[in-house]
Structures are given as C-alpha cells and as structure tokens.
C-alpha cells in the first residue's frame, strides 16, 4: 500500500521509501523514515497536496511524492 492510498483521518506506519538519491534524502529529512507513524490530516481544495501529521509537525506532500512511500495502514 502506498501513502497516496491513505484516506483522511487514517493512520499508517511507514514501511519503505521507494526512491534513493536526493529525493529520498529529502523525504528522510522531512521525517518520512521507516517505522514512523503518520496520519493523513486533510486535502487541499484540489486534492493535491495532502497534509500529514508526522513526528509532531504537519507537512504537505504532493502525489508524486506520496506514490514513493510504502505504508501499512493501522486500524
């Protein structure tokens, strides 16, 4: 399952980042690290980007990026 599949108000654990190099590093720097719990908070009016709560901060990611993050939904 990808982060882009997570619905608003749902929670998940990050399993893997499917990109290396600078783009992967950027995601890690923003706190998208395997093992971290993430929650989808809200969508922007056009549906993209989506805001997530992660490590105590709300950050917005675009679909190009959320398609690169593998997750496991938490009930």
């Amino acid at each position: 399952m990808l982060l882009s599949d997570l619905k608003i108000q749902e929670k998940a654990e990050i399993k893997a980042i499917r990109v290396s190099g600078r783009q992967g590093r950027r995601l890690l720097d923003l706190g998208f690290i395997p093992g971290t719990i993430i929650k989808a908070i809200r969508k922007s009016p056009l549906g993209d980007p989506v805001a997530y709560r992660i490590k105590g901060t709300v950050l917005a990611l675009r679909k190009e990026e959320t398609d690169l993050i593998e997750i496991r939904r938490i009930e």
């Binding site: 190099g21 950027r26 490590k55 105590g56 901060t57």
Partner: protein
C-alpha cells in the same frame, strides 16, 4: 587567531553574502527548523540593533543584527528555517552555503523542545559541518505543559556541545546564550561536538577521498571541512561543487574538471581513485 591574510580573504568571501565585517566581530549563524522561535531569539538578542533585507540574488528574506556581552560585540545572521542542510531547496542551500563558506565563528541551533527528535536531524547536520555549535532548547514552557522532561546535562554529554534551555517569548535563556557565545569567543569553552561514525564501508571511502580532495582542491585547505565534503560527494551531491565554483571562482577550471567525470552524480566514482 586567524592570520591577517586569511581574515582578509575570509572577509572578501563573506562579502558574497553581503556581510561587511571589516572590524572582525565574531559572526554567529542562527539556524533551526521553521517555527522554533528563531526570530524571537534573534529579536531578543539584538533588540533594535538589526536590519532586514534579502539574501543576495534570492527572494528569501534575512535579518542580521548585533548584540553585546561585556566588551565583545557579535554579528548575528538569521538563517532561513530548514529541516535539513542538504541543499534540497533554496532555503537549505542558503543555510548550507553560509555555514560552509562564510564560516561563522559559531552556529546557534534553535530546537523545539516539544519535538526534539525531529529537530535533532538538523542539529546533527550542523555539527557534522561545523563543530562550534550551541544548541538552544526553546519552547521549554510548552514542553513542560505537555509533560515532556528533558535531561539537559545528558543531552550535553551526548552531543558534546553546550545546551541552553530557553523560553524565548519570556526572554528566558537569552543571557545564558550571550554569555556562552562570549566564553566560546574567548576560548574559555572548547566545544568537542559529536560526530556520527558511519558504517565501515563508508568510513573507508571517506578515508580514501580526503587525501585526494586535499590534493585536487588545495585552495580549500583550512577553508572547508574535508570529511563533510567527502560525505557530500559520496552522496552524489553536485550542488556543493557548484557552490565551490561560486565562492572560489578563480579556481573554476579545477572544479569543472571534477564535474566532467571525476566525481559522478551517483556518488563515488571508482575511476577517480586511479
């Protein structure tokens, strides 16, 4: 104390960042994640002795100002708020280049005490680049309210830098920041600064790269942290070579030789070792 010729060269280089410091005041960079209270601390330290503008050639705003402790006057520059120092955005590039090339005498990193884990990423990156670092643990009132307790002594021991608790909105911690800056500038405190040790494979590559870099870029001797530069090249970061070109333009040709294939985008290139 730097040699006279060195400090002239450094002042010239700092002019690229619109820093005029002909009277050689200690320069302090203020770094931190967004919303950690950096501006509040900056205002608290400098009062009205500040002015704002943009970073040269960028639309990113910046503030600089002065504060005094005893007889010593410090010039402090507020860097853009960032989560990282790895040049993923204009803001990160500015912060990275300032610490790397303008070489502040000291970097204050402001961290949000309610969210230490996230903030420590930047702290470790700054420490990796520059040892003379102070950690300001701000928003401690919020942390207390949330029931978060931080063992400051232990954090100091782990990071091997001074850690100063602060509630900037109430002015708490500012005197301690000034005093610590003063003590460091007078070399009454020596900062060791924790450095990450990587896997053996990476450490071996660093060891291999450093002598090569020193040979190929001799003009950076004493002007760059070689270990840090080696790490950036291993990561495949090309922005650092572009920045070396920007700040050491007379050496452009040599750096271009690097860019044409000796160090490649994907990181370390074995061919280069031969």
């Amino acid at each position: 104390m730097a040699l006279y010729a060195d400090s002239l060269a450094l002042n010239l280089l700092r002019k690229n960042f619109n820093i005029s410091n002909d009277d050689n005041k200690p320069i302090i960079a203020l770094a931190g994640n967004p919303n950690t209270g950096k501006s509040t601390i900056f205002n608290g330290l400098t009062g009205l002795r500040q002015h704002t503008g943009n970073w040269p050639g960028k639309t990113v705003g910046r503030a600089e100002g002065y504060f005094k402790y005893k007889e010593e006057e410090f010039l402090i520059i507020d860097l853009p708020g960032t989560y990282s120092l790895l040049a993923n955005s204009t803001e990160e590039l500015i912060a990275r280049d300032f610490i790397c090339f303008a070489r502040p005498d000291l970097t204050l990193v402001v961290a949000d005490a309610t969210n230490l884990e996230r903030n420590l990423n930047l702290v470790l990156q700054v420490l990796e680049l520059s040892t003379n670092t102070i950690l300001v643990l701000n928003l401690l009132d919020e942390a207390r309210r949330k029931g978060i307790k931080i063992d400051v002594k232990k954090l100091e021991a782990c990071l091997q830098v001074p850690v100063i608790p602060a509630v900037a909105r109430e002015g708490l911690g500012l005197e301690e920041i000034k005093k610590t800056c003063y003590q460091i500038s007078k070399e009454k405190i020596k900062i060791k600064g924790f450095k990450i040790t990587y896997s053996r494979e990476i450490e071996e590559k660093i060891e291999e790269l450093i002598p090569l870099l020193k040979r190929k870029l001799p003009f950076l001797q004493k002007r760059i942290n070689w270990r840090w530069l080696a790490l950036r090249l291993l990561e495949g970061d090309k922005t650092i070579l572009a920045s070396i070109n920007t700040y050491y333009p007379i050496y452009q040709e040599r750096v271009n030789i690097f860019q044409k294939g000796e160090v490649q985008l994907d990181g370390f290139n074995q061919v280069w070792l031969k």
